[in-house]
């Protein structure tokens, strides 16, 4: 599950918004709250208490983190960062079943939307296309593209279900498109399958072999029950097969597909891709953009190869086909390559280490790590910098920030700069530091006066304030 605190916050704000506006459509949320008895447990003395969700949530998160880091340690960290993903939505009769509220289809659409946003956030250089299965036939809803809004708009406009679903037709359809993708791209299919049957025109095993040959990684998330053919498909092509238990589980499962999968050398051939880094068009210049064929003022980027103008990045130049990105798009993917180590849990008894005895607050957010009863609460320590962090910061640091605030401070010694610093420079440094210290003392002194000449200090200096 990659939904971060930021996402939670977004939801929270959504809820806030909803309070003033329409309350319809939020029915699903209410159902989850109806099972309030499940959030209670009995304590030693037989009293009912709410379950300590925080500790449980954190334990869950740590398990996930450990499994992730174990997977990435086993081989060299190489991630498939340039992905071409087809999302196949099953809109057959089975999608109207109401075991998910209000229906499977609505739940799939809602979570697909969240997934698409999360996907582009994590994989800015990748592309998505949407395919639907309806009446036994697969249709392209959108072509491969990098704009989340256009996909979501198309998805929400076409939500109706009928007929049977056909796994083979969907795979054939997707294969036709994915086969043309350049070899450096990772070809993936994510099938959100509601039905328990597949109505196929031919031998599906042949299609599966065809996908395997084209190195298309197929993953399936089922909404009803496990099916042999889906499992077989995922096993053969190296994908993930999972079946959702309920809506929140489905959300976890679909968001698991957002971070880039480990790159397997045979799946995509490493290659150098030519890309352009366009500059912003001059402010106030008027020109016709090549993507919408409209004249626009200001804002826009100019392709460095053919000088055509495009409206947004990342994209492919419509004229010369050059991939256009900006450096932040590349930087957004770097954290996948330099993951931070999971933090170690600190047992309350380990507080005897002398150098850490004094640290009573979380290094990140300054929250007290001591409970009201002067009992130290559960916290974690970074293996790198040995600083203590509270559980919330732990999750935030690993899921959204991808930086350890403490390790920034102690680590990152740049050898090159180190060596470039010769002895004279080092001597200078000490002299400089002395000066600053002195200046400090002067300043303190200066602040002590009752009425200094500095105009900004009148407020501070007047005795009656």
């Amino acid at each position: 599950m990659t939904n971060s605190i930021a996402e939670k916050r977004r939801q929270q704000e959504d809820e806030d918004d909803e309070e003033d506006g329409d309350l319809e459509g939020w029915g699903e949320r209410n159902y989850t709250d109806e099972r309030s008895w499940e959030a209670l447990q009995e304590d030693e003395s037989g009293l009912l208490r709410p379950i300590d969700n925080k500790a449980m949530y954190h334990a869950q998160y740590r398990r996930r983190l450990r499994s992730l880091s174990a997977a990435s340690n086993s081989h060299r960290i190489q991630k498939g960062l340039i992905r071409f993903l087809y999302i196949v939505l099953d809109l057959s009769r089975a999608a109207s079943v109401m075991d998910f509220r209000p229906s499977r289809m609505a739940v799939v659409a809602k979570n697909a939307e969240a997934f698409i946003r999360e996907f582009f956030d994590q994989n800015p250089l990748s592309q998505i296309a949407l395919v639907t299965i309806k009446d036994g036939v697969a249709h392209s809803l959108t072509e491969l593209g990098g704009s989340p809004e256009s996909h979501i708009k198309a998805l929400m406009a076409k939500l109706e279900c009928s007929g049977d679903s056909s796994l083979q037709n969907a795979l054939d359809h997707v294969h036709e498109y994915l086969d043309q993708i350049p070899s450096y791209g990772h070809r993936e299919v994510l099938i959100l399958y509601s039905a328990l049957t597949s109505c196929d025109p031919g031998d599906i095993m042949e299609t599966i072999q065809k996908c395997k040959k084209s190195k298309i990684r197929c993953s399936v998330i089922g909404l009803s029950a496990e099916m042999f053919i889906c499992k077989h498909l995922c096993q053969e092509t190296g994908g993930l097969y999972s079946v959702a238990l309920d809506e929140s589980h489905f959300k976890d499962l679909i968001l698991e597909h957002a971070p880039p999968p480990p790159a397997i050398a045979e799946f995509a051939i490493a290659n150098l891709i030519k890309m352009g880094f366009p500059q912003r068009a001059a402010e106030g210049s008027i020109s016709i953009c090549s993507c919408h064929k409209e004249s626009k003022v200001g804002e826009g980027y100019i392709c460095p190869r053919c000088k055509a103008r495009v409206c947004e990045l990342p994209t492919e130049c419509c004229i010369c086909g050059l991939t256009l990105v900006s450096s932040p798009h590349l930087a957004r993917s770097y954290h996948h390559l330099f993951p931070i180590a999971p933090f170690d849990e600190v047992k309350p008894s380990c507080h005897n280490e002398p150098h850490l005895k004094s640290q009573k607050t979380c290094f990140g957010c300054q929250q007290s790590l001591v409970n009201p009863g002067n009992k130290p609460s559960l916290h974690v320590a970074c293996p790198n910098c040995k600083q203590y962090f509270c559980l919330d910061c732990d999750i935030y640091i690993h899921e959204s920030l991808h930086n350890c605030p403490g390790s920034q401070i102690l680590g990152s010694t740049d050898k090159a700069v180190e060596q470039s610093l010769d002895h004279t420079n080092r001597a200078n440094l000490h002299a400089l530091k002395k000066d600053v210290q002195k200046e400090f003392k002067d300043h303190m002194h200066h602040m002590d006066c009752n009425f200094c000449n500095d105009m900004y200090f009148h407020y501070g200096c007047t005795p009656n304030l």
């Binding site: 791209g185 150098l272 450096s327 590349l330 740049d414």
Partner: protein
């Protein structure tokens, strides 16, 4: 924050996390503005933010060259009155902590004597500020509107690039604008990008004597009021990349498909991740791409 649950937060209440650059190598070298002058501008500014709204909150984090630390949190010492009736506690607490911090910073610098020194640890203090802001978000639906203000003088440390970018994207995701006021000689590419991506304001004051005026006119306005004000516009943020092999800024380049390293010309092997590349198929592939795309457009 927890002490005032009954207070009602409206959209004009701000939490300003000020990142104060204390890099001694910059401040002793800067001729136009001494550190004490700088501090006096900043302290007055901190005070004026606290005066604008009684619920406003200011946190100051010192960015040293070896470490970063919280040196002031207005939510902590709101109850304390001024010592000796002379100086408000804002000043005395902050200055005392700042001095302790400088001594600690120097000590750490001696311990690991040969560190990259030219730059401050912007990535560390940004990460800390974001952790603090997340805590404010967690405190409940009623919280002040947070923003980060970087008061930076020293130049960018290239080794912090990935970390700073991570912090910027995290701020963007939680919709926290990063404002920056750069008092150094050249423009700071990190801060320009940070402000541009997160929707903050980047200012490089022309006259450092009037720093206080720059700070109050540009950075004192809360996020809600900003929509009514004409703030300095970002001028020419350069989003071009520089190649890993020669560090030159390029318009067009080659990207390793595995690790996204940037090179200015075709290599046989990626120097970052070690992948061996096939032939330069970039041009042919983009041409075929184009053919594939052509019918749709």
């Amino acid at each position: 924050m927890t002490s005032v649950p009954s207070k009602r937060y409206s959209d004009d209440v701000s939490l300003v996390v000020v990142l104060l650059d204390t890099n001694p190598f910059f401040w002793t070298a800067s001729s136009s503005l001494s550190f004490s002058q700088f501090l006096s501008h900043v302290l007055a500014f901190v005070n004026s933010i606290l005066l604008l709204n009684q619920l406003n909150q200011v946190v100051v984090i010192a960015t040293g060259y070896n470490t970063c630390d919280y040196i002031y949190d207005s939510s902590m010492d709101a109850s304390q009155s001024s010592e000796k009736g002379r100086m408000p506690s804002v000043y005395s607490n902050l200055l005392q902590k700042l001095e302790e911090f400088m001594i600690k910073d120097e000590k750490l610098g001696k311990e690991q004597s040969q560190r990259a020194i030219a730059s401050s640890l912007l990535s560390g203090s940004l990460s800390m500020a974001l952790c603090y802001i997340q805590r404010v978000f967690r405190s409940g639906p009623l919280h002040p509107q947070p923003r980060i203000l970087c008061l930076q003088g020293s130049s960018d440390g290239p080794e912090q690039y990935v970390a700073v970018m991570n912090a910027i994207f995290s701020a963007q995701r939680s919709m926290v604008p990063i404002d920056s006021c750069y008092v150094g000689a050249n423009n700071s590419a990190f801060l320009q990008q940070a402000s541009y991506i997160t929707g903050g304001v980047y200012v490089k004051p022309q006259h450092l004597d009037g720093l206080f005026q720059y700070l109050t006119t540009v950075f004192a306005t809360d996020l809600h009021s900003r929509s009514f004000i004409r703030l300095p516009r970002p001028a020419g943020v350069d989003f071009r990349a520089s190649c890993f092999c020669h560090k030159t800024t390029i318009d067009m380049g080659y990207i390793c498909s595995v690790c996204l390293s940037i090179f200015c010309k075709h290599h046989k092997k990626c120097s970052t991740c070690g992948s061996v590349f096939g032939q330069a198929q970039s041009d042919t592939s983009s041409a075929s791409d184009h053919k594939r795309k052509a019918p749709e457009t």
